[in-house]
Symmetry: C2
Subunit: 358 residues, 2 copies
Amino acid sequence: VTGPSPSDSPPSMLEREIRSQSRWLLTDIDGSGQATRSAYRRLSRPDVTHIIVAARGSSDNAARYAQYLWGRALRWSTHMAAPSLYSTQTPPRLSGAAVVGISQSGQSPDIVGVLAAARDQARPTVAITNDPTSPLAEIADVVVDLAVGPELSLAATKTFTASLRAVVAIASVAGSRELRAGLDRLPELFDQTVSMALETTRPLVELTNLDDPAGNLLTVVGRGTGHATAAEAALKIREIARLRAEAYSAPDLLHGPVAANGAGSAVLIIASPGQPLPYWSDLADRLIADGVRVTAIVSGPQSRLTAHLLHELPDDLPAWLFDFVAVPFGQVAALRLGLAKGLDVDRPRGLTKVTLTT
Amino acid sequence: VTGPSPSDSPPSMLEREIRSQSRWLLTDIDGSGQATRSAYRRLSRPDVTHIIVAARGSSDNAARYAQYLWGRALRWSTHMAAPSLYSTQTPPRLSGAAVVGISQSGQSPDIVGVLAAARDQARPTVAITNDPTSPLAEIADVVVDLAVGPELSLAATKTFTASLRAVVAIASVAGSRELRAGLDRLPELFDQTVSMALETTRPLVELTNLDDPAGNLLTVVGRGTGHATAAEAALKIREIARLRAEAYSAPDLLHGPVAANGAGSAVLIIASPGQPLPYWSDLADRLIADGVRVTAIVSGPQSRLTAHLLHELPDDLPAWLFDFVAVPFGQVAALRLGLAKGLDVDRPRGLTKVTLTT
């Protein structure tokens, strides 16, 4: 157990799940590497020109991580499915595609429907799921089982990080030394950032002035794989703390929505080392000039960024690993903000573990 | 000129631009149909298995419209590019892809970069732009010129609708009677909905209680092509009225973010006829039970939906056309909310006509 509990009451299941993640990342779920190798082989078949990932909610954020990681590391053209297009008798033609479904429950009919369309069109399919007996697993050619046990709090935490790890593990089959070394360091690094987040995010709660109407507005910014981290942070904060949190890539934020961030609102920047300092500092400076309260997760040269609060990670991390181990800051911020609002963080209102959208 | 001006002062350029849209939709920008036919031919080449659309801001919402319309009407597998992946020497491999860039200015370097990568890999490219001499137009194999003249207000209105029209026109080359008949009806229908929106959205401003902190929260919900309409409505409201507006598909809203919509917030539902009544009424009933103020744009059976305010469109519209002509409601809501807040709706703060994101 790392760091102090946020209050004198027994820790929430959510907090215990957040703390448990590095343990699950240590557990080699696929000892022989057979499932990830098999998934890699399907996705790299010569007749596969592009990959379509079908997912919802947190898993959709893992899909976005795959889009950037696989795009950068393997030059795989990876895109997110619009699942509703596959609910008809005439779904889009999938020539050249391989389809990956990500769903912790493996139950969502619309995600299963995308893989069913791929199977009907004789295209390869991979399921990344926490339930190897689920409909999604049953329909897929290859199943990568997350095997992290049932999630005791309603909001997805360890199944999200396990999905990210599966995405990296599949890519690492191609032999990248950087990816393999990063996977080896992941559990220890993640444990460090969980501790750091638990010890230092209290000021974020103060920056997010809950008594001020504008304090209900929280924007999370990231780029590339960090866009996935930002989207997941916003989703957790929204689900658990019921704040109006949103994620944007820096360019999309500059293309308009920045207009709605006024004085008193808060922005969390995942200042990935994949971009030069000015990329992030120009954004931060503009926000601060507008009276926005800025928190940033930084490393290396980005530590010179001006912000109200900086979380500094080790300075030798490649962008994909930085963005991965930054995940706990969003999770813990959601936990802290939810507790500060007196909410039940384990059973957030409006959330169910399995959402049967069709 | 349709409907009364929202106040006694001279109408804003934004209002005039909104009113002018049906006139531009009447103007056949591509009299011979040569550019749209040529675009269709590139995109339907036998070696094209999938289409990647690169865009930002409002144009990204037009890209989403293309994803659903082309997916449904032509079974074209269409996805949105992650532009930042193309800023390196090793962008994703584009075998089997055709690339479409949508940008009213044609200037954004990151969008031009995606088409440059396609050209380098000898893949077909199409530009949809309002400037046929722009860098985007220069790099593309085929240019569909929107030709709607310069936009006098900063927020994109007529260039967005012209982009949607170009997307439909390209699809109609395949010969669909429904698409061609819809294109013929479009200017008159659009004129009707502009008038309806100008005459009836005042109550939406009242439902969005600007004196209540929760009133700053506005969520727009749509599905399929209506997801594009919802995203564009949220973007306009955000840019012009500086409210915290967000778009969700109904399934994504149910997968978590619905938790942050509490009593006092407002939701606008684009209740497209593409879904059965219960799909929309279940969502509306749940939101109303939570104390959310619900406005819905409806037609046909969906008119039986329970909401605080209904806008009823003609009942014989296919979903893609319903979702297209629902666009003015978002534009006019942004105008009205911006004026109600005393903002300069023509030159919203933080917005520039050309955003040079890289």
